[in-house]
Amino acid sequence: MKNRLSTAFACACVASFSLADDTAMSASQLAARLNALQQDGNSHVRLKMEIHAAARESLQLQIKQRRTSSGTDIVYQILWPKERAGESVLLRKSPGDAARGTLFVPPNTLRAIEPAQLKEPLFGSDLCYADVIDNFFAWDQQAIVGSEVVDRTTCQILESRPGRGERSPYAVVRSWIDTRRLVPLRIEKYSSAGKLMRRIETTRVVSDDGRHLPANLTVTSPQRASSTEIDGSRLRRGVAYTDRDFTPEGLKELATPRAGAD
């Protein structure tokens, strides 16, 4: 599955062309369209993340992402507070390969993130690395298992299961898709034991150039009894990146990408 941001913003990126015949779509068609929306090239997102656990913590983050059909590269970087500024995570995934990454903690700590570590939390939030890099819309097994009204919107419930070649901490992901706007309004991720591991609710959908994107998300982890609120404040598409931006060395630099054509 895609993390909320990814899903929201990346999806936003990908965004929406409206579906006139949404009711007639099969599960694989729906997943394919959502997956296609994810492949939206280079984008840059600014967001605020508020973690409600034993203590409340606010983070300002930027996300650099490069999503194409040949792979996905994502960098999450903390901009604020000052004490954590520069903490960065690089995650990469190519089709058929397991996701991997690198964690950078200033001034000099670099640690590899192996596939077995993708369950670890992202910056202490309720999202894990896998939530950010997995794209469950691209998984082989897709089924529509019902429909339900979420926030007065009738959604198709898409159930995604990883295929043999896919590695994911989740055995099943259910997403409640508003098929008119092509936006997931709720995502639930289950372990192989059938336990709910993560719930992601879209609390605000925005329209950008005719595309709909989840802008605000609430992530809850029943196991941790905590929640994380994500408020997207800026999304730019078509920004300019270099390959270095998506390397461990590039992680050490905190910079805003230059604007491309909006």
């Binding site: 840059h44 600014r46 605020k48 606010s58 300002q60 930027q62 901009l79 604020w80 507070p81 000052k82 925005v206 329209s207 950008d208 408020d231 404040s233 800026r234 920004v239 905190l254 910079a255 805003t256 990408p257 230059r258 604007a259 909006d262």
Partner: protein
């Protein structure tokens, strides 16, 4: 006993039911006052901000988003060359969360442009030049961010310094973080791009002359749209959405009020069937009976409207004082809104009384004998 006295006594027979109905309709009217007052207040405040800065025309791409999309800064030169334009100021305005705060307006202005001139320093100073890593905060923004002169403030990846706190003369200005355009472009990776151009025309120009300048600008700048300052916020889809939401939410509340009053008046007619029949028997005309029922429902509407306005005003004041909202709202609680609300309430009362009044007019004197 006079006719108005009969109407008042009719309502006083069941004071608890009348009171509850009145409370129901007043909640609907309170919603009108609060929601419409807040959305109109934003428009008023925006326009006050424009007047304070002596802006006649705004050139931007404001559409469905809260902030306009960026365009090339060279557009400013084309706008400046349009006959009738006397001054321009380029801006890059963003609506974003800063540090731990909720969403704030970050307003980057061309260094030396007229949009700096009206700012009155409350404490500290203005930035020294376009490249100094410094911001000034509107008074409300300073309170929201809990910042004072000399404190650091982070805008995206850059830590800047608060060098001054200013009074911008309007809510929008006072709620903004202000810095130089060059600095903001560098911080956000938007070199050479802006998203708003403030325009001044010859002093004393009429609205028609301003419209003609807008048309001339729109001919030479197809990538953006020029609108008179008054039209600008009203044309924002986001603002229109908020306005529509305010009115539609209020309408729902008012409809509930209508149903409440209608229910009360129907009960009144049923309970007072014998009395109405006797009034008909002693010579009252049906029209007078209908007027009595309509009068009672209109009076309920009037009282409900007055109480609703009071609740709405108190509610807005209470919300206005809440931490996190204080200073961010400038509701337009004008007499015009009060009169509109009470008029709606009376209309609701009359509308709600129509069916009960018609039912009462169908009664006959002989029904009084049936008990």
């Amino acid at each position: 006993m006079t006719f108005p006295t009969i109407i008042v006594r009719g309502l006083m027979r069941r004071p608890v039911r009348t009171g509850l109905t009145l409370f129901g309709i007043s909640i609907g009217i309170a919603a009108v006052v609060a929601l419409v007052g807040v959305s109109r207040g934003f428009e008023t405040s925006w326009n006050v901000g424009m007047r304070t800065r002596h802006i006649d025309i705004v050139v931007s791409t404001l559409g469905s988003g809260i902030t306009p999309k960026p365009f090339d800064a060279s557009v400013r030169d084309r706008v400046a060359a349009v006959p009738g334009v006397t001054d321009t100021c380029a801006l890059f305005v963003d609506f974003t969360s800063v540090e731990d705060s909720p969403m704030l307006i970050v307003s980057a202005r061309e260094w030396g442009g007229f949009s700096w001139n009206h700012l009155k320093i409350v404490s500290g100073r203005m930035p020294n030049d376009a490249t100094e890593p410094a911001v000034v905060l509107g008074r409300t923004a300073a309170e929201t961010l809990k910042k004072k002169v000399g404190d650091p403030i982070q805008i995206d990846i850059r830590e800047l310094k608060v060098v001054g706190i200013v009074d911008g003369g309007a809510l929008v200005e006072n709620g903004s973080v202000m810095l130089s355009l060059d600095l903001m472009q560098e911080i956000t990776g938007n070199e050479g791009r802006i998203n708003i151009i403030d325009v001044r025309v010859k002093p004393g120009s009429s609205e028609e002359e301003i419209q003609r300048v807008c048309e001339a600008i729109n001919r030479v700048v197809p990538e953006a749209k020029a609108m008179s300052a008054g039209e600008h916020i009203a044309s924002s889809e986001a603002y229109r959405f908020v306005q529509a939401m305010s009115w539609s939410t209020s309408l729902l509340a008012v409809i509930m009020g209508v149903l409440g009053v209608m229910n009360t008046m129907l009960m009144t007619v049923f309970e007072r069937k014998q009395e109405i029949c006797i009034l008909l028997a002693i010579g009252w005309r049906r029209r007078r009976i209908m007027l009595m029922i309509l009068g009672e429902s209109a009076l309920l509407g009037l009282l409900g409207g007055m109480v609703g306005v009071l609740i709405g005003v108190l509610g807005v004041k209470a919300i206005h004082g809440l931490p996190g909202i204080r200073g961010l709202l400038d509701p337009d609680l004008s007499p015009r809104l009060f009169v509109t609300s009470v008029t709606i309430s009376i209309g609701v009362g009359v509308l709600s009384g129509l069916y009960p009044a018609w039912r009462s007019s169908r009664l006959t004197p002989s029904l009084a004998l049936q008990g």
